[in-house]
């Protein structure tokens, strides 16, 4: 037998024929195509039982009800809760992104102790027992030296059981230094106290107004309770509601308004008073709503003549007259205060002027009007029994100076903390605790604040995420994310009802985190008698249930408690603050010819939490391109400066300098440039860090002379081609 080429070939051909007639090639083709479509790294999400669990979102003060869809024990989608009194099924871009925060890698996964230098973000994981012990020991140490007042706490909020526990902690400990992050609430609370005579806040029946005069408020850009506002705004057109947006920039709110009035930034108070003067002059005012009406009338007519106001504000006299007439003639006119999302305070003069308009229009505590509501007081804990150390500490002046001297009218002045700790304050701070806030990014003059932290030897952060403030801390005691915890969520946010939402754990804690309320109770119990006694509850849930008392069952069932039948504070106001000087932007015009103002957008979170990857994806390439942030500039102003669309420029203010790109936008006053707030993060992760510029690095606080609140609305600037 010859095994030659022919036989080999016939063997091969035989093989080929046999292979073709066998399933091998056909099956292999099918298998290969399946294999190539199912790479092992493409996730196949496991299926399971779909359930919905309700809770309350607390990512912003809006207080929306959410419904979280779960597959088995994984949360897969956050949706708005249909029928909820605040948002009725709607939800905003931030609320929708909650799961990226819950499951994402920016979570702080366990208690951490700093190793390495501050700001290096080198941590060593420790146990909760050890962490609580470190905190308790440090606190005891300071207290035993009679220096309890040198411990301060910064909190995003001062309402609800958790902030109340933090406040109680400081009170029992002996420190007056509980400081709330600055916000529009500062201005509102002061105005209500000054004008109406009692503690409380305002609420707005925007659904029923028929003429809305907004002084820069981001009606659909996040002011008040954002979803509620957008839902209300979507009904205005059909109901023929007139909406006038007074805004230096064509914000989304201005674009949705019936009329946009581009105003010189910072002159809103003058416009309000000018309109008030006209209303009063025409005899269209509700004089009974203002005590001391006669004096007021005289002052208005003398100081706010239309021509003068037109010149100050940059709005034509004719338009001001139209405004005054429209506002006065409307059945249910309503004036709104607080620029953008309302995260910064307006001056007392401005707030009072706008509230005055509401009073003159006779809408106080009426349908479609502004309501003056006493604060909800549902937390009724036994008074803290202070010992000598605590009493002595509480008698010390506050580190931020609030409540005394020229700052007597302020409750919180975080903008003055840097000054307080860098040597010119009453005493040095030895410890700072930060909860529900990110001042190292969010506070005006953020760089100055971060630098001032060098004077504080021990910093504790309760943040759930690796934010800028956590990066500067020495001890991390991470809180659960809102989706993992029970908590009461009292909602103010411009609602004219009192609403308390209940946040429920939708998933079990994903990491080794602990409820802040629990941490406070545990730490107090680990300290000596006066502290431990002030915290009699076994755990936070017991505390919460007791605090909510008769509301607890209803809250567990419905998830929200609404009180509509409220006794408003008063129907009349007394006037104040009118004669205060206007608030000017820092910087001189010759060196800084432009005005830089911030703008708020729902797509960029500018308080406490940073944008998630989903949210940053929605930001336009005329706001962020690569890592570059943009400023909006009027094309005429740009051409004067020799800047083309997208050009790189150096932006300088008296407070800082940075590199930006310019975006030409016809919807902004010439001479004014605008930058989005909320960018320029340095912490978090690569999806957010390094993108854009932090507006707070370019501006610093401007104190309202009547109280000390930071009421800076912008700062002078210059732009030069880079």
């Amino acid at each position: 037998m010859k095994v030659d080429r022919r036989s080999f070939l016939s063997f091969v051909i035989g093989g080929a024929a046999g292979t073709a007639l066998s399933p091998l090639p056909w099956k292999l083709m099918d298998d290969s195509s399946i294999w190539s479509q199912m790479w092992p790294w493409t996730p196949v999400p496991p299926d399971g039982e779909a359930t919905y669990e309700n809770s309350t979102c607390s990512l912003c003060p809006g207080g929306c009800g959410i419904s979280v869809r779960k597959i088995d024990n994984r949360a897969v989608k956050i949706e708005g809760q249909p029928g909820h009194p605040v948002n009725d099924g709607g939800i905003c871009i931030l609320g929708l992104s909650g799961l990226q925060m819950l499951y994402g890698p920016t979570r702080i996964k366990a208690p951490m102790k700093r190793v390495g230098e501050r700001g290096e973000s080198k941590w060593q994981e420790i146990s909760w027992d050890e962490a609580t012990q470190i905190l308790a020991d440090k606190l005891t140490d300071i207290r035993n030296r009679g220096e309890a007042h040198t411990v301060a706490a910064i909190s995003g909020s001062d309402s609800g059981t958790v902030p109340a526990l933090l406040q109680r902690f400081l009170t029992a400990y002996g420190s007056p230094n509980f400081i709330r992050m600055p916000s529009g609430r500062d201005a509102d609370e002061l105005a209500v106290k000054t004008l109406f005579g009692e503690d409380g806040r305002t609420g707005y029946d925007v659904e029923n107004a028929d003429y809305i005069l907004s002084f820069g408020s981001g009606l659909v850009d996040g002011w008040g309770s954002p979803v509620r506002m957008i839902a209300a705004a979507s009904t205005w057109k059909d109901k023929n509601v007139t909406v006038v947006q007074v805004d230096p920039r064509l914000s989304n709110s201005a674009a949705k308004a019936t009329r946009w009035l581009p105003i010189n930034p910072g002159t809103e108070a003058d416009l309000a008073l000018g309109i008030a003067a006209l209303i009063v002059a025409n005899g269209a005012a509700d004089s009974s709503a203002v005590s001391g009406f006669g004096v007021l009338k005289a002052e208005l007519l003398a100081g706010y003549e239309t021509g003068k106001v037109a010149q100050t504000t940059g709005i034509e006299a004719g338009a001001i007259v139209e405004l005054a007439q429209g506002f006065a003639r409307a059945d249910r006119p309503l004036a709104l205060c607080g620029r953008g999302k309302g995260q910064t305070a307006t001056s007392l003069r401005e707030t009072a002027a706008i509230y005055l308009l509401n009073a003159l229009a006779g809408n106080i505590n009426q349908d479609g009007g502004m309501w003056a509501i006493p604060e909800a007081d549902y937390i009724q804990w036994p008074e803290v029994e202070t010992d000598t150390i605590a009493s002595a500490g509480l008698r010390q002046p506050r580190i931020d100076g609030a409540g005394a001297g020229k700052y007597a009218n302020a409750r919180y002045l975080l903008n003055r903390l840097s000054e307080g700790v860098n040597g010119s304050g009453p005493y040095p701070l030895q410890m700072l605790m930060v909860a529900g806030a990110n001042p190292c990014h969010d506070l005006s003059d953020s760089a100055g604040f971060t630098g001032a932290l060098a004077h504080i030897p021990f910093i504790v952060s309760f943040s759930s995420f690796q934010d800028e403030t956590a990066a500067m801390a020495d001890l991390l005691l991470p809180d659960h994310v809102y989706l993992e915890r029970y908590e009461d969520v009292p909602v103010a946010a411009g609602l004219h009802q009192r609403v308390i939402g209940l946040s429920k754990p939708v998933v079990s804690p994903q990491f080794n985190t602990r409820h802040l309320g629990e941490t406070l109770i545990t730490t107090a119990k680990a300290m000596d008698a006066p502290m431990a006694d002030a915290f009699p509850w076994d755990d936070y849930e017991t505390c919460l249930e007791e605090s909510l008392a008769e509301k607890w069952d209803a809250l567990m069932e419905e998830g929200v408690w609404v009180e509509t039948d409220i006794d408003p504070i008063s129907d009349t106001i007394r006037v104040a603050g009118m004669n205060a000087p206007a608030i000017a932007a820092e910087g001189d015009e010759s060196g800084f010819p432009l005005l830089l103002i911030p703008y708020d957008t729902l797509r960029i979170s500018s308080r406490t939490v940073g944008d998630t990857p989903f949210m940053i994806k929605t930001v336009a390439d005329t706001v962020i391109k690569g890592l570059d942030g943009f400023v909006e500039i009027n094309p005429q102003t740009a051409s004067d400066a020799g800047l083309k669309e997208g050009a790189l420029a150096t932006l300088t203010t008296p407070r800082g300098e940075t590199r930006v790109r310019v975006h030409l936008f016809e919807g902004i006053k010439p001479g004014v440039i605008a930058m989005a707030r909320g960018l320029g993060h340095t912490a978090y992760d690569d999806y957010l860090a390094g993108k854009g510029v932090n507006f707070n690095e370019l501006i610093g606080p401007v104190e309202d002379p009547s109280c000390g609140h930071d009421v800076a609305w912008g700062i002078r600037a210059k732009l030069a081609k880079a």
């Binding site: 659909v220 954002p226 390439d621 999806y687």
Partner: protein
Amino acid sequence: MKHEQKHNPPMKYGMAIDLDKCTGCGACMVACMSENNVPFKKDESNKLDSITWIRVFKLTNGKAYPDTDICYLPRPCQHCEGHDGHSPCVSVCPATATDYSRETGIVSQIYTRCFGCRYCMAACPYHARYFNWWDPVWPEGMEKYLSPNVSPRMRGVVEKCSFCFHRYQQAKNEAYLNGESRVSEEAYQTACTQACPAGAIVFGDLNNPEHRVHQIVRPDTKNGNKSRNPRAFRLLERTGTNTKVYYLSSREWVRRAGDNYLAHEKTGQVSKPHH
């Protein structure tokens, strides 16, 4: 085996988006991304490769300050019907990865058939289709929020808005359980419709007179489905794509922005489709 089924009249799922209500908040974009396992990258500022099944565009009237006006327009896949289901993308797909269903009016996209030639992307006049240039990467832990009802994609395939068809599939399951032959209007709503805080998006069966979207749009089936609502317009209506997403605006300049009108052409004048 029972095969006697009540054959319901064909449905035509579509949308009416009221641009007078849309505030440009972007909730629809994130609702869609969250619902449909849409991937994300570190740098999303190159909008040519950023994947957003529904994208909110910012239109401007082009006038100088202070007469400037802007308007936001959310653009999902338009689910073009063309002429009897000949959507531009369906007509060109060499792999039968995309298809038009006469029963629901929805243009489907099946990732396992797609081999990434991107012919459909070239054909789509609305830039509604997106290509996965890279394998999606979910940062550690985030893969937990992925929904099992939508297939995550691998690199090399095109994806697009599906009118949340997986929700129809689930609603149909429930309908079977409850002995109903049709999926009700409330049972099947897209994620973007559901999330919109302004209620600007209305979704439903354009063929069903009881559905809100039909009542708003009132499509004239004898005239290429042009809407009888004077505020309504469709994007690039004159190309004959016969889309199912109708936009409403009381502003003439916005309606005019919906197509490439020459200065002398009247807004909304749509010539009869050629056969």
